[in-house]
Point group: D3
Chain length 184, copies 6
């Protein structure tokens, strides 16, 4: 087998935004294949994590298609959280094809992979403060213009699943779910 | 089998109060059998969830007996939380007899069951602000009159298990348990 | 609170049969309230455990209604398995109202509760070899007369959910499920 | 969003063989996108489940590339087992983009999805008895010609990870792992 | 078997400090063997729980060696959290040799063991406000003198694993991990 | 910190026998500290795993005391199973102090640690066929002389907990537990 040079890009993508897509385009210049990890895959319907894994995969794949990114070049994989960081890293090794480098700006993620002898590189995000999933969700709740921050197909999918209303319901609910941390 | 017309009433009942009992009495006029779900059944000994499932079942059944509600008309079932809302709904379907309608005022619960094609109806709670489990627990901690809010047998059971002292200990503890979210 | 004298009767009820109902009738002469535990509640769709908890509760409650057993006298509660026996006993204490005695013929169950200082009594089952859930499932697969072994409403429910065909499909399947042990 | 017509193809792929690839080629004529589910994703290093999810994804994707199947047309997703079938179906809905049809010959899988109102179609497997993962693993242990049954890149990957030796070690081991069912 | 008189001492030890070691020295005068429970063993890499179980065991054992405490006199055992307090107590009974007394100042822990008929005694901690793990972590983040609070070998181990930097990274991270509660 | 040269010795110890103790004595000549892993710690009350973790720790520690092995030289740690081998290895790294070598004759365990760059050595067991836990349990069930195979204190503890009767009850039980694999 001719080994492909693979990189790892990790996020929760709640939801995917234009900054993610731009970053992926840049990273694809550096690797033969990019493994896009949908983290915290076991969580949805929380204020900070409104969308299911299926919805996030659907948004991400549609946005990459919209951006005309060659599907031969990436792999989208959901990974659940683990109780300990070192076990989480081992879990990623078990659930993904072999990779050589990780792209992340998060200090903790960076160190964990460095300890596991994987090369880690910074990502140049475009206007990080604005193009962020936290900002997208904030605008959704404040009824401000969130649509400008995400790819067109992501707007379509969120509209179709009535996502803004779901987020607002998550903010209002006093059910045992939604507002509080849902445990397994 | 003559299919009975069943409805679902979901709560955490930490603890059951007079508002719950009144609501159940009203709902029983609308269905042949009411399935009373004790939610978050895997949790106890937290400030917001002080009582075990066994204690909550015991309080609920005693209160329904005290109110002379025909036990042929209801079924009490504990259901644990699930990591995703849609899975939680599937779990309820697996753990309960078939039902036709759900009674809930919570926006999120309402929509989830509507998406699963179950009819959902509002509940008319009596003086919601006062007759609430949150208010009962607040009064217990503030040493105010909580007894007026719950059925007589619930006072008896809470007294017998020394429940007010447990709640106060949960507020004071600095053990790894109690104050913080206990995970599985 | 006037404490009721409660007993515990544990089974998997895959499915409930006439022997179970007769035993429950006898036990109700000895206690004020019988807690009927639906064990292994997390399992279904296996050759030895074909029915869901919801189905088993529905069969049990319908059979007890058919036998005109006073619903004030019993409580049906599902309990999942636990990894260790001693933890399983603790889990039962947490999930049920307080009880004074356990009815069981199983040597291991008997000793575990005796160690926990609970009185344990034998059950007189009627024609144990024939009236057994294992025999019911064997007859279902062999196309022999299983209907004579279960209450009439249980026949109705199994017919309605197409239960015999499900059992046969579980015997034929080569999916990752069904034949093999499904883990969480 | 222009909704794509999606189908679901479920397997454990321990390992993927030529029959799988041929079936996928045929199915791709019927749908716009095929979601290939890597089932029992939480299991590896067992006699019947020797390969990790990462290895299985790597084999599948390489084999589809080798067969020159357009990567725009499929999505590979790992899904863990669930304790109950109905919950497993709900879990699939939560973890995948929306789909309209399922391809499966397994009687149980077929009925479960039919109950969930999803259309189910049979798969025409080529020489099922020979092109099967069970036969591949049997030949690996018996030192017979397994290579003829799998795509060339799958031979390469299994060689590279020393997979035949791993399978033989799993047959020999008397560690708590390997031979017996490893639970979570 | 000559039964040894055993006591239980429970903590999270994030990290062990001089107050812990002094308390253990005092307790060893009262029992033949002290079982030191490393609680919340499934958690690490959180702001309030930065160290792994392996690191905590290593710190504790080294500190006890440094204090020249006879290793024949104690046993260090990690115990994970449980969803319910009563189950947690049962879990401790299953995971430890039999013990006769528990040492704890926490009101909730005290009552739980008293209900399980275990004698509970208070611990005289030396200058509790200063010699506390919370204070150690606070000083680490504030760049104040934390070293004075812990045994010399604990300083060495924390230095070696670069623990202060890890804590600071946990405070900065915006990964799905670290700042928020990591669930199983 | 002066780093101690540590080795790992893994077993289920159901129960510990003379072969284990002899092996530990030999291994202690090669390392400064031996970490003795009690594997499958989440399992008990099965035919192949009759004893709890607490009982196994108690037996092991008593047997090492009886053999006058210096307690400064070893550490006994329970580790639960993990769903995947590679995750199990990561879990061991997280739960133990750092170690340099593993002692094991099991082909799979050996390779896994070798892949993780840990040196692995064979163990010279004395009369492996006879001094084995499987043989001890077989003799207990067949009422043959098992006592000759285990240290004297292990006989005492098994007698005290009525272990032979427990094993026989596990062989007889038709409860959902015991004979079949208990899942979490």
């Amino acid at each position: 087998m001719k080994q492909r040079k693979r990189g790892l890009f990790i996020g929760r993508f709640q939801p995917p935004h234009k900054g993610h897509i731009k970053a992926i385009q840049n990273l694809l210049a550096k690797v033969e294949e990019l493994i896009i990890i949908i983290g915290s895959s076991q969580i949805s319907h929380e204020l900070d994590n409104p969308f299911t894994t299926g919805e996030r995969i659907c948004m991400m794949k549609s946005a990459l298609d919209e951006a005309e990114i060659n599907p031969y070049k990436y792999l989208i994989l959901p990974i659940p959280d683990a109780p300990m960081h070192s076990i989480w890293v081992a879990q990623i090794f078990s659930y993904t094809p072999p990779f050589e480098m990780v792209f992340s700006n998060d200090p903790l993620t960076r160190r964990l992979f460095q300890e596991a002898k994987v090369k880690v590189y910074n990502i140049d995000f475009f206007q990080r403060k604005i193009y962020s999933a936290t900002e997208v969700r904030r605008r959704m709740l404040a009824d401000e213009n969130w649509k400008i921050l995400v790819p067109k197909v992501v707007i379509d999918i969120i509209t179709q699943i009535d996502g803004v209303r779901r987020l607002n319901e998550l903010a209002m609910t006093d059910s045992p779910f939604g507002r509080r941390k849902v445990v397994h």
